[in-house]
């Protein structure tokens, strides 16, 4: 069953007097529970593709369906809610909120949802923190954490809302190989346990070991899709 369906998606950016064609007719069908890696050289359109799937950017043309919802006609608030309730984000530079501690960072999206009581929020956040094994750092601010710990917090924050999809833009790029491997294992474990769809961009060849599918992209086009398992 498709969770992400892209049809002839194009994205053009104006750059000075010229136009950059970041995506050129991308067709993509991603099933629920996949663990997909998008690979390609710098400037190939990986981040743009993730941004469009994550509804943080809008395609110039084409159709995008996320969890059976056509996002092209959604208002900004509807897109915001879609991101909040259905999509989790993990960034290359972790992008934690510096003024909040670990617990507060993880609680953050739950508070935005306005769906749970304070107690429920606290319980969910603590469970997720335990799940990513950073309980000892629960009261620390991001600046007091190592890169790996920060990324664990980012993963916890992305997963605490029980999203259908998690988008990770080069999640291991700022980590050493050992920590990177730990993070990927963690993501894989969550993927398998919770049936969450993971889509991540990477340059890291080790990542391929974890992925079901590898989508190769170049010059804004999907040039190959490799089934790994």
């Amino acid at each position: 069953m498709s969770i992400v369906l892209l049809k002839d998606v194009r994205k053009d950016y104006p750059l000075g007097k010229t136009t950059v064609h970041a995506l050129q007719g991308v067709e993509l069908d991603i099933s629920t529970g996949s663990f997909i890696s998008i690979v390609g050289p710098s400037g190939s359109g990986k981040t743009t593709l993730l941004n469009i799937i994550g509804c943080v950017d809008q395609a110039t043309t084409g159709s995008i369906t996320i969890d059976d919802q056509d996002v092209s006609r959604m208002t900004d608030n509807q897109l915001t809610d879609l991101r909040l309730f259905k999509i989790g984000f993990i960034f290359q530079s972790f992008n934690l909120i510096p003024v909040l501690n670990v617990l507060e960072n993880v609680e953050f999206p739950l508070l935005l949802m306005k769906k749970y009581t304070s107690k429920e929020i606290r319980k969910k956040a603590e469970e997720m923190i335990e799940h990513v094994r950073i309980t000892e750092q629960i009261s620390q601010r991001p600046s007091e954490l190592s890169g790996g710990q920060r990324q664990r917090v980012a993963i916890a924050r992305a997963l605490v809302t029980s999203p259908r999809i998690v988008l990770a833009d080069e999640p291991t790029a700022n980590l050493d190989s050992e920590t990177g491997a730990q993070i990927l294992s963690l993501m894989k474990r969550i993927n398998e346990q919770n049936n969450v769809t993971f889509i991540f961009s990477t340059h890291d060849p080790d990542v391929l070991k974890y992925a079901n599918d590898v989508i190769k992209i170049r010059d804004g086009k999907v040039i190959e899709r490799i089934k790994c398992q």
């Binding site: 943080v56 984000f89 510096p98 924050r157």
Partner: protein, 573 residues
């Protein structure tokens, strides 16, 4: 909202140095604004609630006879007081205003002074501090004690126990010389008041020749001085006079006579067919005496040049008052006018009426049955001439100049407010308020430009964070709220700090004593700067600062909220 508050507050602490600097700037603005407001309010309080209260009151009712504007006299004090109390609300106090202007002679030196009648109270004692002598029993024993300022005592070369002489006009326009004993030497809180000399009210009233039921003028002190004009207008309506008349008896005649005054400068031609003079009678508006009907003349066997005698009950004296007036003309009255009506010239009538107010009032319509539109009614003078309300000092001065020239016996009543009697003081207060407000506004405008720039810088620095929170699922409106909340918190904290600092600064400034005399001393209290920080002005400042800062924060916050998440995430600082 809890989340927004938390993030805003933490962000505020996060950029400590910048926010402290900005906070200091806002607090500085608040200090300036609060001190300026408190000083301005102090000036207002000093001028409106002290200086004006002691000089003219917020409202003043006076009556003038024969153009003697320096010697006003309200003949029926009780009636005017009763009308004031039933008409005007929010009265703090009503005081009788009594004073005489004249030359005072001390020990080999003389000077012009304003001698004011005073009823001692705590307010007076605190405003005019006794330097020598004591207010305790000051009015006992000595004949005509006076309270005199330090400067005036020096000028007149007098000390406690010395005698001074003063010559002034009494209420009847006669020269009066009185001897006073210096009992208290004072220092006024206000240099402006140093030129007045005070004596007990009852002594001065007697010296000036006022009767018990009379007074010179009435000062009204209001709870809210700003309502003076509006209340004066109300009182002006309530003090609209009736037609004057004396309902009297005359010997050997069973009917009562009704004496009514002509207005000054009356023309009998205006009466048309109602009053017809015989062809050989000379009568014009300057003629004194009375015009009686030929019927009454026949009954009383009186002719032109005779005096018609009458008696009537008085309002404030027991027994009947006997008076007479010369008959200057005998006329044919139309049947609409009772033959028992006696028309008296303005001067002849009010010479009697003013001094011996009649008790009884009758319906004039019982004697004069002409339609109220008939010109005969316009020929009859009222109990007093109610002067038109004026709105400024120029009109007020012109009104009194005309009054001095007119010299009519019929009393003229004036209702004035501080806006006319003390307009220069009001103008000064207004100018001070305006200047302080403008100065504070300019400072604030500059500070707010700082807020604007700082916030723009903050938005720029936090663009990636904005991208992150927007990606995670924070709505645009919430992003805006975060920045607005940050500014709000900064403003409130700075306001609080500014308020505390300004209270301390004001306290310190009031400790400075300006010992030398200069005209600005009139804005001070006890030669010290005077601040009145009110709760309202403190919160008004908060509202002003809040409005300013929210307005300046609105645009950068809106810009932050409108950033596209993808672009914000790509942003590099």
């Amino acid at each position: 909202m809890k989340l927004i508050f938390l993030i805003s507050f933490r962000n505020l602490i996060r950029q400590k140095r910048r926010n402290i600097q900005l906070g200091i700037a806002i607090a500085f603005g608040i200090v300036i604004l609060t001190i300026a407001n408190a000083f301005s309010k102090g000036i207002t309080d000093n001028l409106l609630n002290r200086l004006i209260v002691f000089t003219s009151g917020h409202m003043k009712i006076s009556m003038i006879e024969s153009g003697r504007v320096m010697n006003p006299i309200i003949r029926d004090r009780a009636y005017v007081l009763k009308t004031i109390k039933s008409t005007v609300t929010g009265i703090s106090n009503i005081e009788e205003d009594l004073g005489a202007f004249g030359r005072m002679i001390g020990n080999g030196k003389g000077d012009y002074v304003f001698l004011a009648g005073v009823k001692l109270n705590d307010e007076f004692k605190s405003y005019f501090r006794a330097l020598e002598g004591s207010y305790e029993n000051y009015d006992k024993g000595a004949c005509n004690p006076v309270i005199i300022s330090e400067q005036k005592a020096k000028y007149l070369n007098v000390k406690i126990g010395d005698q001074v002489r003063m010559r002034f006009d009494n209420v009847n326009g006669q020269k009066q010389t009185a001897i006073f004993t210096v009992k208290v030497i004072i220092k006024s809180q206000n240099i402006f008041m140093d030129y007045a000399v005070f004596t007990p009210f009852k002594n001065l009233k007697q010296l000036m020749g006022y009767k018990k039921f009379e007074t010179a003028a009435l000062k009204i002190i209001l709870d809210d001085p700003r309502t003076a004009a509006e209340k004066a207008d109300l009182l002006h309506k309530a003090l609209e006079p009736d037609k004057a008349c004396i309902w009297s008896k005359t010997d050997k005649y069973s009917n009562n006579l009704l004496l009514v005054p002509f207005i000054k400068g009356v023309s009998l031609n205006a009466a048309g067919s109602l009053i017809k003079m015989p062809a050989d009678t000379e009568w014009d508006s300057d003629t004194k005496g009375a015009v009686i009907s030929s019927v009454l003349a026949d009954k009383l066997k009186l002719g032109v040049g005779d005096r018609i005698k009458f008696k009537y009950k008085q309002r404030y004296f027991s027994g009947l008052h006997h008076a007479d007036v010369k008959i200057s003309a005998i006329a044919l009255f139309n049947k609409k006018i009772s033959p028992d009506t006696v028309f008296v010239s303005n001067e002849s009538f009010f010479r009697i009426y003013n001094y011996f107010l009649p008790e009884d009032k009758v319906r004039l319509e019982d004697y004069i049955q002409a339609d109220h539109k008939d010109p005969v009614w316009d020929m009859i003078a009222s109990e007093w001439h109610l002067l038109k309300r004026t709105r400024n000092t120029d009109d007020f001065a012109k009104k009194f100049k005309d009054l001095m020239r007119d010299k009519k016996y019929q009393p003229s009543m004036d209702i004035a407010t501080m806006y006319e009697t003390a307009s220069e003081i009001i103008k000064m207060e207004y100018v001070f308020n305006l200047v302080t407000f403008l100065a504070a506004s300019v400072i604030f405008f500059i500070i707010m430009i700082g807020v604007l720039n700082s916030l723009r810088m903050t938005v720029r620095e936090r663009t990636r964070e904005i991208g992150t929170v927007r990606s995670i699922g924070m709505r645009r409106s919430d992003v805006k709220k975060v920045f607005m909340m940050e500014t709000f918190l900064l403003t409130v904290l700075s306001w609080l700090a500014g308020l505390i600092i300004s209270l301390i600064v004001m306290k310190l400034l009031t400790l400075i004593h300006f010992s030398y005399d200069n005209p600005l001393n009139m804005l001070m209290v006890d030669r010290r700067l005077y601040f009145v920080p009110t709760l309202w002005s403190v919160f008004r400042n908060l509202i002003i600062v809040f409005a300013f800062s929210m307005a300046t924060a609105f645009f950068p916050s809106s810009k932050a909220a409108s950033l596209k998440p993808s672009e914000a995430l790509r942003h590099t600082t």
